[in-house]
């Protein structure tokens, strides 16, 4: 595989970003978006080619592109590792990113920061590509941080909105916590493997797994478990797992294309991707897998519930993202990495679709986000309607749709897994199937069916947004519907062989591989399983409550006030964070600031040493008298000093 080809994939979006960002004013809006789209488009086309090379020609690539520096035996470098996992990731990332780029032309049309926005999203794509294409931990971390930083910029894109500033700060801080764990994890890897290169580290994994470390007194911890859990904390931050999920719903303050980009294809999948990439490490720690399993299951079910009470169209989808990420995490915990990756891929398509559809609705209704003020939009927005339907069916796992295959597989994997906590996970995600169906179709019905609750200003005719918005919807609807067909080759075939390591005792997918007899039988089998029935039930309940008998919803809310309150308060996570964590740290910070900073550091250390240095400086300055004979004498003194010290 040609190294330059790979370089183009990452550099094309970067170039687009630089041109539209730095020269935006000079080249104008038109050329800004043309350049940015061309960059990402080029990356997408090459990604297809790379995918073809990897998948059909069985080529892989692992090599150093540039060595940044060498410290001792550790080499910091930029390198690419291209295998089937990377190939599929770059394909998904560049495709969704391309769709979002095109969509942005229509969505951000009237915004002042048009070129800036294009610059950011191209840069975001670049960072994500650096992350997934990396062959070492250093570059992974670079991509990781870059993604975090640009998401901060993007969420706060409308920096004059106070909520946006709050949200981006929150996203940044929460991600910092995750990144801290991640950094510690990388440090642990470096300490025990002595290298940052993936291959080098993976080779040593079995040895590291035998080591233990004592952190507090004499309790022995498995090094591998510690490392993996630390790495997973990083993943929790990026992939928004409980309790580090709080940033994600708030990040809806950013423009909608961002929501699609962050939540569907890029940032949140980074954690899932990372764990999959690190499967040769995680496989050696059952403890870490259990932690992943439990965290994922908790996220899947509890975040789903919250989707039920939200009235903001984007927030509902945001919570569904959280819940779906829970699914992926659960799959990782059960060592069904391939299933997790597969769900990541299908989810990328239908979630991007749902977000862009929501954006389309919002454009038509003058950026109205409250679903109670919508309804009956079906006849005005036919394309949005049908594409949303596809997206919703996909997310609830309707047989035949892409989500069905990936979801069903995850649920069944939990069933037969042997990792501690798999029972809990199994039930949690079964329930969340019902919940998912319920809130997805609640949203769908409230927006597209029922009575019209919106008012149009000055007699404006309601119609579909521009072509730039519609094309991505249609293009995304296709893989959302049929993307599941590849399950046979991707999950059960030898697609991930040699890339993802699954120990024999964990290998749940192999079991299904034997049972798998083609798509049709898989679908037919799916029609008779519990998840399908639960999903159907969810849709029906949603239909009854929100379309047929709206008063039930009201009555239910009154009956279960406490539960509703808990949900609206987001289980108290935000309050807890605000009051206890943020308040507490502010308090501690204030104490430290007063005592430590003002008195000790500023007063004694900084000012004190500055005073001493300043004093010394003034004193020494007097030596520089300007008299020649003083200077000459200083030299003679130097002679004397050297002679006395070194000769006699």
């Amino acid at each position: 595989m040609n190294q330059n080809l790979l370089l183009i994939i990452v550099l094309a979006p970067l170039l687009g970003s630089i041109i539209s960002g730095l020269l935006g004013k000079q080249v104008g809006r038109m050329w800004s978006h043309r350049v940015a789209i061309a960059g990402v488009g080029l990356a997408f086309i090459i990604s297809i080619w790379v995918f073809k090379l990897v998948v059909f020609d069985d080529q892989t690539y692992n090599g150093q592109v540039y060595q940044w520096m060498q410290v001792g035996s550790i080499s910091f470098e930029i390198g690419f590792l291209i295998d089937s996992l990377t190939a599929i990731m770059i394909l998904v990332v560049t495709f969704v990113s391309l769709m979002v780029h095109i969509y942005t032309i229509g969505y951000m049309h009237h915004d002042d920061g048009y070129t800036r926005f294009f610059s950011y999203i191209s840069l975001f794509t670049f960072s994500m590509l650096m992350l997934v294409m990396s062959n070492n931990f250093m570059q992974l971390f670079f991509g990781w941080e870059a993604v975090g930083l640009i998401s901060y910029l993007l969420i706060g894109f409308w920096y004059k909105k106070p909520m946006a500033i709050y949200a981006n700060l929150k996203a940044f801080l929460v991600n910092r916590i995750g990144d801290f764990g991640f950094l510690l994890g990388i440090a642990a890897v470096l300490m025990y493997a002595g290298s940052l290169d993936y291959v080098q580290v993976f080779i040593q994994a079995p040895e590291i797994a035998k080591k233990t470390i004592s952190i507090f007194s004499d309790v022995q911890w498995s090094v591998m478990s510690l490392t993996c859990i630390l790495l997973f904390i990083g993943a929790m931050g990026k992939s928004a797992q409980v309790p580090l999920h709080v940033w994600l719903p708030d990040s809806m303050e950013g423009p909608t294309p961002i929501s699609a980009l962050i939540h569907a294809a890029t940032m949140v999948t980074a954690g899932i991707f990372m764990v999959t990439r690190m499967s040769p490490l995680f496989e050696f720690s059952d403890t870490a897998l259990s932690v992943i399993l439990v965290v994922g299951a908790t996220t899947a079910i509890f975040m789903g519930f919250m989707g039920l009470v939200q009235n903001d169209i984007k927030r509902v989808i945001a919570y569904s993202t959280l819940s779906q990420l829970g699914y992926m995490t659960v799959a990782l915990g059960a060592s069904a990495y391939a299933a997790g990756m597969f769900h990541l891929m299908t989810h990328a398509f239908f979630k991007a679709l749902l977000f862009l559809a929501a954006g389309s609705v919002m454009i038509s209704l003058n950026h109205e986000q409250d679903i109670r003020k919508m309804g009956g939009l079906r006849k005005y927005l036919p394309i949005t309607y049908w594409t949303s339907l596809i997206g919703s069916l996909a997310i609830i796992g309707f047989p035949g749709m892409s989500g069905f295959f990936s979801k069903d597989l995850i649920i069944e994997s939990e069933h037969i897994s042997s990792i501690t906590g798999h029972d809990f996970a199994y039930f949690a995600i079964l329930i969340s199937v019902f919940i998912t169906a319920l809130y997805s179709f609640r949203l769908f019905f409230l927006v597209f069916h029922g009575q019209e609750h919106f008012t149009l200003h000055n007699g404006k005719q309601l119609h579909e947004p521009s072509i730039a918005v519609r094309i991505p919807l249609i293009l995304l609807a296709i893989p959302s519907a049929v993307g599941g067909m590849f399950i046979g080759s991707i999950v059960f075939g030898d697609f991930f062989d040699g890339v993802i390591l699954v120990l024999p005792e964990h290998n749940v997918l192999a079991y299904f591989g034997e049972e798998y007899h083609g798509l049709v039988s898989f679908i037919l089998h799916g029609l008779m399983t519990t998840p399908f029935l639960l999903a159907l039930l969810g849709v029906s309940v949603a239909y009854i409550i929100y379309v047929k008998r709206p008063n039930i919803a009201v009555r239910l809310r009154q009956r279960f006030t406490w539960f509703h309150k808990v949900l609206v308060n987001k289980y108290g996570f935000d309050n807890f964070n605000d009051k206890v964590l943020a308040g507490g740290s502010r308090l501690i910070a204030r104490v430290f600031w007063k005592i430590g900073d003002l008195t000790l550091i500023d007063g004694v250390i900084v000012n004190g040493s500055a005073k001493i240095v300043g004093l010394a400086a003034r004193m020494v300055r007097h030596i520089q008298t300007g008299y020649l004979y003083h200077y000459a004498f200083a030299m003679i003194l130097g002679v004397w000093l050297l002679l006395t010290l070194f000769v006699v």
């Binding site: 003679i636 004397w640 002679l643 000769v647 006699v648």
Partner: protein, 206 residues
């Protein structure tokens, strides 16, 4: 006998060199320097370095120092007053000078540079030409340094001219112009009326 001559020259050399720094009258200082050059030339003669010795006398004493004396006399510098703070630093200076001298003697003394350690210079046969040997070396082995010295001299001239040439108007003679000149350029014949007796024919130099 040799020893006696050497030591007397050497002590004169040391003494005059000291005097160069110590005496306050610049003319005397310059003259002391001349003397010290002479004595060191004499010591070189002992080493059979006749060419260098003669060059030292001819170039340094004959040209450089004479020029120096001219400058000093023309500038009419009186005795330089004691530098302010001279006494303040005097004892420190003396102390450091003393220590350094001790240290240097310790290193450069007979224990390290004595005849037992270093071979004594070979006496040259009769008819040996110092000048020829030097010339041969300069134009063969040391041709590169020799060329560089030439460049340095060029730069020295350039630097001196740039730093001292103040006026752009120079007093120069142009031979071509002098030769080209013809009578009409220099002489103007003015015809005057005879009536005024004060002014006769007048020649005007241009």
């Amino acid at each position: 006998m040799q020893h006696l001559i050497f030591y007397s020259f050497a002590s004169i050399l040391l003494f005059t060199s000291m005097m160069v720094i110590i005496v306050r009258n610049p003319v005397r200082a310059a003259l002391c320097l001349v003397l010290s050059f002479f004595t060191s030339a004499a010591i070189w003669l002992f080493l059979e370095a006749e060419f260098l010795a003669i060059t030292l006398v001819l170039v340094y004493v004959g040209a450089v120092m004479v020029l120096f004396l001219f400058v000093v006399m023309m500038l009419d510098i009186a005795e330089t007053p004691l530098q302010e703070g001279f006494t303040r630093y005097f004892h420190v200076g003396i102390f450091v000078a003393f220590v350094i001298t001790i240290e240097m003697i310790a290193v450069l003394g007979a224990s390290h540079f004595g005849l037992g350690i270093l071979p004594s210079p070979i006496e040259h046969p009769e008819g040996y030409s110092n000048t020829k040997a030097l010339g041969r070396l300069l134009y063969t082995i040391y041709v590169y340094p020799f060329e560089i010295s030439a460049v340095i001299l060029t730069v020295a001239i350039v630097a001196a001219i740039t730093l001292t040439l103040r006026k752009k108007k120079r007093k120069t003679q142009d031979p071509a112009d002098q030769i080209k000149v013809c009578r009409e350029d220099r002489i103007r014949i003015v015809k005057m009326s005879v009536a005024s007796p004060q002014k006769d024919n007048e020649e005007v130099e241009s």
